[in-house]
Symmetry: C2
Subunit: 438 residues, 2 copies
């Protein structure tokens, strides 16, 4: 990769040569000349650490620079920048910590690592005056980290609503467009390589939750703990939900919601399937694409859209971090850790206090008086019904009732639903979703 | 604005206290504490230059720091950063040039200045090793400049399609949603303050063109000249066009198109009303909002959406430039001019060679044989017809014919349309628009 006898040469240690690691290597080669011209820096992959050098790969490992010891990156004085793409939170934590302590700038795409250990790692980065870059950790090719850290630096972030799990978005889209059942859509996503063999983290909301933790932490200046957020997945959504929502003018999306109540200082962070109006720009985010809708107190409404995963988009973000790291290292500046969480602007809102409108699906015995008992319970909790749909088709004495409900605290709503679920006329578990006004 | 006896204090000279200038002042006050915490810098407005200090204003000019001489900014050794928000290309050029030559970092929101004199000003910035920041010059609050300069730095930009004039987008939207005629929608935009008393630059495409010049120049490394781009406005679009386009599954948008043909090295830059598929995410960009759809060779498809104008959104961008300038000045780095046009990656494509599909509206005498003569001319030029619509309603012997045409070079298309226009059965000027596949 060109000669390295150059004052403007920076040497990179790459940990991990999986999908994204190989993409970084491939695209640095592909656009190396462009990048040199734009940055004035020569970015050289000096060493690559992999677990198994003999594993068959789409891109051949470059000869002579491969190692199997992570220490070879950390202890090598020639290496300026360490890119962590090994995943997981054990070896990755040790590597990042040790790289920072050895004065190496770190780039990582590891959302779980930051969501779980961000507080500790950024404290080390701060102490060592060595930056961590992590654009690739959230929403693949979308530059949402730089946008929050730099472009919106003058804004108090009022709220974010993110479609930040492409697998879920693909599944919901296929259920909606092609009328596939949940399991069919999931199988299709797996066959196309959009979902892992074990898709749990995608469909149960926790992949999105890790990203939401990072975005909320950046926005509100303190590391949000995973125990303070509420996470639901898309596993229980049926075709009937999607059709009824559509008839009412809504699309169902798995949304990460981050919101600051400026008066109380409450910070709300949750991941839930939600009904959003079909004419909202987020409703146009289809397939595996991601988007984050951000409302700042000065800038107003903004949206950032792109591929949320994949070798090339994610490596585009790693390379932008490399260029930033190179600009920083090349400038001779003592330190630039960027705008990272380092102060508390609020406190977590208990999920039961979070307020929204709701969608409720109930499977009931098809007999008189059922609706009166349901609306009675809702009335006791002061939850208003804005509309009710009971489709004609029943099957064997069972019917579905779909309710749209006015604003209520989640805790109140859950209590009412639990009471309804205990009625002897209720057959299956009630399905409750948020309706977001955005 | 807090005390300035601080090592981390930067002093700002603000030229212009109009809409955006007042917004910068107001929002620096509003979010000053947040900004200090995030950047570690104290950003102080040290002097404000206005033409008329006695002009009534929504926000009062702060006492004691007002001047009417631009030289007071440039010659004041205490001032680190000059923000140019006076507009125009004469005084503004002199101010920016002189500020750079006096070692002051410059922030400007002046798209016309950069589109016309960018080459010269960036040469001075380069020579003086003093940066120019210009996020506010393109698309208001959308951080598209930083995105292209930094986040997509590893990408060859394949194309951009931008809705970057909010006034035009508002007018087209109202014609489409409310069935208003062009003049009615324009009047409404003026009454709401979305269009200037003289809306020429908005509706004739040149406001968008100035922004397209800046985006193309950043993307392709050389300053694009205004004589090398093709610009058309929305003045001739009728309600009939909007309805027929809608029936065919399209929305009409004023688009800035920027495209690199990697094989030939041709760079295409043009602003034209265009038909885009209704299900494309750009079609969901409504009202005065702006959005830029960017395709990079690594990142793939991305979109950046937000308010393209207005006091608050635009000042959000100015403040992000201030934070960047502060980080740079605070780092002690010798220079960081960012990634700016400094190399030629291609050459302008003559507009006649640019290829697309087309929409053609013709007003014809309602008599037999007309369509045969029209399709004969198109056939001579090897332009295929993909569909033809001739609505039932005619008026006094006149009829409209709407044609969707296959791919053809613009030059060929223009020749064919000119020949058609000379037919004695053609009543009004033919209306030709692009159909963009994006």
């Amino acid at each position: 990769m060109a000669d390295s006898n150059n004052n403007n040469t920076l040497k990179i240690g790459l940990a991990g040569f999986g999908n994204v690691g190989a993409g970084v290597y491939k695209n640095l080669l592909k656009n190396g000349a462009l990048l040199r011209e734009r940055t004035g820096q020569n970015l050289i992959i000096h060493r690559i650490v992999v677990r198994d050098p003999d594993k068959p790969r789409d891109i051949d490992l470059p000869a002579g620079i491969v190692s199997t010891r992570l220490d070879d990156l950390v202890k090598d004085d020639e290496i300026d920048i360490v890119i962590e793409l090994i995943g997981g939170t054990d070896y990755a934590f040790d590597l990042v910590k040790s790289a920072l302590e050895n004065g190496k700038t770190v780039i990582t795409g590891n959302k779980a690592l930051l969501a779980e250990h961000g507080k500790e790692l950024f404290a080390i980065a701060d102490r060592e005056k060595t930056p961590i870059y992590f654009e690739a950790a959230v929403a693949g090719g979308i530059p949402i980290i730089k946008t929050v850290q730099e472009s919106l630096v003058g804004n108090s972030i009022e709220s974010m609503a993110g479609i930040i799990n492409g697998t879920s978005n693909y599944i919901l889209g296929r259920m909606s467009d092609a009328g596939l059942a949940y399991e069919e859509a999931l199988n299709e996503a797996q066959q196309l390589g959009y979902a892992e063999a074990d898709p749990a983290l995608d469909v149960n909301g926790w992949d999105a939750a890790h990203k939401a933790i990072i975005l909320a932490s950046l926005s509100y200046g303190s590391w949000v703990r995973s125990e303070d957020i509420f996470v639901e997945g898309i596993e229980k959504i049926s075709l009937a939900d999607i059709r009824v929502a559509s008839d009412l003018g809504y699309t169902i999306k798995l949304l990460a919601i981050i919101r600051l109540d400026t008066e109380s200082g409450n910070i709300e962070v949750r991941v839930q399937p939600s009904l959003i109006p079909k004419n909202h720009i987020l409703a146009s985010v289809n397939g595996v694409f991601n988007a984050i809708f951000v409302r700042g107190d000065i800038v107003g409404e903004t949206l950032f859209y792109g591929s949320g995963a994949g070798q090339d988009p994610t490596s585009s973000s790693v390379i932008s971090d490399l260029a930033d790291a190179a600009a920083h290292l090349g400038s001779g500046a003592a330190s630039r850790t960027g705008f990272v969480p380092h102060g508390l602007y609020g406190h977590p809102l208990p999920i039961d206090e979070s307020i929204s409108q709701y969608y409720l699906r109930l499977s009931v015995d098809d007999q008189p008086g059922v609706l009166a008992r349901i609306s009675g319970i809702l009335g006791e909790h002061h939850i208003g019904i804005s509309s009710m749909i009971q489709p004609e088709e029943h099957c064997e004495g069972a019917a579905s009732i779909f309710l749209m409900l006015y604003f209520a605290p989640f805790g109140t709503m859950k209590k009412a639903v639990a009471q309804i679920a205990e009625l002897d006329c209720i057959q299956d578990e009630p399905i409750l979703m948020r309706v977001e006004s955005l």
